[in-house]
């Protein structure tokens, strides 16, 4: 391949200037003349029959323009794989924070006064807050009518279990018979929030023709469009969703958030309505990461070969399925791990409880499952007297190996990731001083499929407009796509204007999720670029009298046969004579073959263009306080091909920071169905003094499908931190903490009990 001009270069992101000058317009900033303030009234009971909802007093207050409850709207159940959710609680509430009513008023103060004036009376029902209690016979059912709900047929459901996904490979019992040692452990993880700095926000406005426009900070405009169509009983063709700048998403803004409330209120009030979620609402009633209980039973030979693994990961999905059925499926692939294990029986369950509805958070299920798998790898290594790195190297997958569901793996950079991360952290000295230790963890993840379309249009000045239905959530993935387009057209990224995410104006995109944006949109750009070239060469050939096969594109010109013509001239000619130069590029990742016999009730049976990674950390633990000080943190990640190293490092540094939060401090604390810490004082996210410098090593084993070999990079850095940290803490202290977060308090009490 000839030298690349733009791909692989540290090009600044296209939206950087708007973002440093405060001119980028986020959903929280957006307003229209006459916009009303919307507010949601939420349940204060975890499980109760709704006896009375009286809105009369609220509706009569000054400034109030609309009040709605379940009685005012179409009776619709919506959702992803399982349609179990309603806009408002109808006859019963199922969690503290569940919407009961919504209202719109001319000022924030009037909206608050009205919310306080709504009278709700409850009759408490027995509630269940724990997954094991919820699975026990005779447990209170969250959804007594669960059998009547619409769901994708492959889910396996029963009472409070809203999916039970499985991987079965080989014969796990026979495998355990071959094992010299069998290890059994339980790990638990807490509910955590994505922590985006801009809360979910939307503004909805209906025009006289019955068309709805919603400006939102959603990651998935097309999904929101369809969900709104379902809820409002209006055709999608009447619903325009426009994505504003997004103040972070990390999976928390995938599904409809406040758009439906804004749309319903705007319809009733006849005026635009904006809703901006409060921090308290975010921590009480959003789509956080599920807490889990994980059991692992692993059989190994004396020389450290894993011969059998039985595992079960149970997700507390809250009062509705949310992303649970899918996340429980994905989890099984992470729980099997990036290891060659002939005999597997892995289960992922999503369970209803009386808590907020959980969703997706950057590499959904990844950190929880990885925490268990990679903690246990170290426990096994210690018991066998093997080096943890060596145990991994003896079991990891390599090119040509099968994944847990039989997919054949290629371009596996895992060994290189492990070796390089270990070398960088100075693995030879694992316990350099008393109270100091190093930990390592590795893993794999998918590059989510789904289709992407782009329009690429030549502007009158010879610059190019790239129009995509994918949203920019901050990762700079669309800058990556623009780099790919620029490379293909021989122009600079500065020559590209980005038009992003408007369900009426831009082509379909499966959405900014699953580490797929640069990958899929980038590939669509390549296809579109080929078509743009074809159109340009046909026109230039006519204009220059040079045959197409002698033409080349570069420096904003088409040239050949000693002649050249500027793109601006070609654009002008095309605009005058043929409707301009425009191309539609589309891409969908090819299916990844797997062994169908190995999976049951599985929504995500194989990892597409999988990425591989290893994290290594060097830290000290203060024996008195339990405080953890991180000295160094190294990530080696197989990115396939680094389209823009700067922003890949950015993904790694940011993903590690979030992962350290989950590892050490973050937890949405529930007691009896109520969140005890719904504020940023008590929900502790890492600040600049908590996060160490992260050293990124970009390993490149190109994907055959990815643009220029790229693999998905956004989610993986969030997966391994809890496991790497847990392993380092164990190395430093000799104490193994099997529950997240690993707070100072847990370390001190366990250390104390270990010494006794």
């Amino acid at each position: 391949m000839s030298e690349l001009r733009t791909v692989g270069k540290r090009v600044p992101r296209v939206d950087a200037r708007a973002k440093v000058t405060g001119t980028a317009v986020f959903a929280a900033d957006f307003s229209l003349p006459g916009t009303l303030h919307g507010r949601i009234v939420r349940s204060t009971e975890p499980h109760a029959r709704l006896v009375v909802i009286d809105t009369r007093r609220a509706a009569a207050l000054p400034g109030v323009r609309a009040v709605i409850t379940a009685a005012d709207i179409p009776d619709v159940r919506y959702g992803g794989a399982l349609k179990d959710e309603t806009v408002f609680a109808n006859d019963r509430v199922r969690y503290v924070g569940q919407p009961i009513a919504a209202l719109a008023a001319t000022s924030q103060a009037a909206a608050e006064a009205a919310a306080a004036a709504i009278e709700v009376r409850y009759e408490p029902l027995p509630a269940v807050f724990d997954v094991e209690a919820a699975m026990a016979p005779g447990a209170p059912l969250l959804h007594p009518d669960w059998e009547t709900y619409t769901a994708i047929p492959l889910l396996k459901r029963e009472g409070n279990v809203c999916n039970r996904a499985r991987i079965v490979a080989g014969d796990v019992e026979r495998g355990f018979e071959e094992a010299d040692r069998i290890f059994e452990h339980r790990y638990t993880t807490a509910m955590v929030h994505q922590g985006y700095t801009e809360a979910r926000a939307a503004l909805a406005s209906w025009d006289g023709s019955g068309q709805l426009t919603v400006w939102s900070n959603t990651q998935l405009p097309f999904e929101v469009q369809n969900t709104l169509a379902e809820i409002l009983q209006v055709p999608p063709g009447k619903i325009r969703v426009v994505v504003t700048a997004i103040g972070g998403g990390f999976g928390g803004k995938l599904r409809v958030g406040v758009e439906h409330f804004a749309a319903l209120l705007a319809k009733k009030a006849g005026r635009p309505v904006k809703i901006l979620t409060t921090t308290e609402e975010e921590l009480v009633a959003s789509y956080p990461r599920q807490s889990t209980v994980i059991d692992l039973r692993t059989g190994v030979t004396k020389d450290g070969r894993i011969v059998a693994k039985q595992g079960r990961i149970v997700f507390d999905t809250g009062a509705f399925a949310g992303s649970g059925p899918g996340v429980a499926s994905v989890a099984t692939l992470v729980l099997a791990g990036p290891y060659r294990i002939p005999n597997l029986l892995i289960e992922g369950l999503a369970i209803y409880t009386n808590k907020t509805n959980c969703g997706s958070y950057r590499a959904p299920s990844g950190p929880q499952a990885s925490f268990a798998v990679e903690s246990q790898m170290d426990e096994i290594a210690d018991a066998l007297g093997l080096d943890p790195l060596e145990l991994r190297l003896r079991n990891i997958v390599r090119d040509g190996d099968e994944g847990p569901t039989g997919q054949v793996l290629s371009s596996v950079g895992l060994e290189e990731c492990l070796e390089r991360a270990a070398a960088a952290i100075g693995w030879g000295e694992r316990r350099p001083a008393p109270g100091r230790g190093k930990g390592i963890a590795c893993g794999w993840w998918t590059t989510t499929g789904g289709s992407s379309g782009v329009y690429v249009k030549l502007n009158a000045d010879g610059s190019v407009a790239l129009s995509t239905g994918a949203a920019e959530i901050g990762s700079a993935a669309l800058t990556g796509a623009a780099q790919i387009l620029a490379e293909e057209l021989g122009i600079d990224v500065a020559d590209i204007t980005l038009v992003s995410a408007d369900t009426f104006a831009t082509p379909f995109d499966f959405g900014a999720q699953g580490s797929r944006t640069a990958f899929a949109v980038g590939n669509a750009c390549r296809i579109a670029a080929a078509e743009v070239r074809r159109q340009l060469f046909a026109l230039a050939s006519r204009e220059l009298g040079v045959s197409e096969d002698r033409l080349a594109l570069g420096e904003r010109h088409v040239s050949g046969g000693g002649e050249r013509i500027a793109l601006a001239d070609l654009a002008r000619i095309a605009n005058q004579t043929g409707g301009g130069i425009i191309a539609h590029g589309t891409f969908i990742a090819p299916p990844t073959p797997y062994d169908e016999k190995r999976v049951e009730a599985h929504v995500y049976p194989a990892f597409h263009s999988p990425s591989f990674h290893a994290h290594a950390v060097d830290l000290s633990v203060d024996p008195e306080t339990g405080d953890v000080e991180i000295h160094r943190y190294v990530v080696a990640q197989d990115v396939g091909r680094a389209i823009n190293p700067t922003y890949i490092e950015g993904q790694i540094e940011g993903g590690v920071a979030q992962g350290l939060g989950q590892a050490l401090s973050e937890e949405i604390v529930y007691r009896d169905g109520r969140v005890l810490n719904p504020n940023l004082t008590d929900y502790k996210m890492p600040t600049a003094v908590d996060v160490p410098r992260v050293e990124s090593i970009l390993v490149e084993h190109p994907s055959v499908v990815g643009p220029y070999g790229a693999k998905g990079v956004g989610e993986p850095p969030n997966i391994e931190p809890p496991a790497a940290v847990a392993n380092a803490i164990a190395a430093a202290t000799g104490v193994r903490i099997r529950s997240l977060p690993i707070t100072a308090e847990k370390i001190v009490t366990r250390e104390a009990s270990a010494c006794r």
Binding site: G22, G195, T197, E198, G654, A657, T687
Partner: protein, 160 residues
């Protein structure tokens, strides 16, 4: 009850009639339409609402607008001069310190107040100074690097 307040924002004088209990953040965003100052926790816990009042970084969500009367208020919109970016803004771009961007106005203003007092900081001092500004995207590293770069540029400018 409404009161009359005169505010000086980014060198411009404003005369406003507002309720006495409104925060500076609210007035900047909804009266002056300066939405570059961001809103989030409203409890002085995240720093996205940071502005400069007489050169000091404050969380505008917990400052009453009336108390800012007679002081010089700088928001992110007032940082670039005649279309030329402030060295901090340029450094944030060059270092790739911007992701979603929502924390960035507050981050840049906190950094400016800090660098005005500490022209040659260590990384650790920068981290301390920015500890009140949450960023969920970047892991802070490129932000710290950008602040160091800007500090170098500003020192050079001062010497000139």
């Amino acid at each position: 009850m409404k009161v009359t307040v005169s505010l000086n924002v980014n060198g411009e004088a404003w005369e406003l009639s507002i309720e006495a209990d409104r925060t500076l953040l609210d007035v900047l965003r909804t009266e002056l339409m300066l939405t570059g100052t961001k809103t989030n926790c409203l409890e002085a816990e995240c720093g996205v609402c940071t502005v400069l009042v007489d050169g000091m970084a404050v969380n505008s969500c917990t400052v009453l607008a009336v108390t800012a009367q007679g002081r010089q208020i700088t928001t992110i919109e007032g940082l670039a001069r005649d279309g030329e970016l402030h060295p901090l803004q340029q450094a944030f771009i060059d270092r790739g310190a911007v992701q979603c961007g929502y924390c960035i106005p507050g981050m840049i203003l906190s950094a400016k107040a800090f660098l005005d007092e500490h022209p040659s900081p260590t990384d650790g001092q920068i981290r301390e100074a920015l500890a009140g500004n949450l960023c969920r995207c970047t892991g802070y590293q490129k932000i710290v690097d950008a602040v160091q770069d800007a500090a170098r540029v500003l020192r050079r400018e001062r010497r000139r």
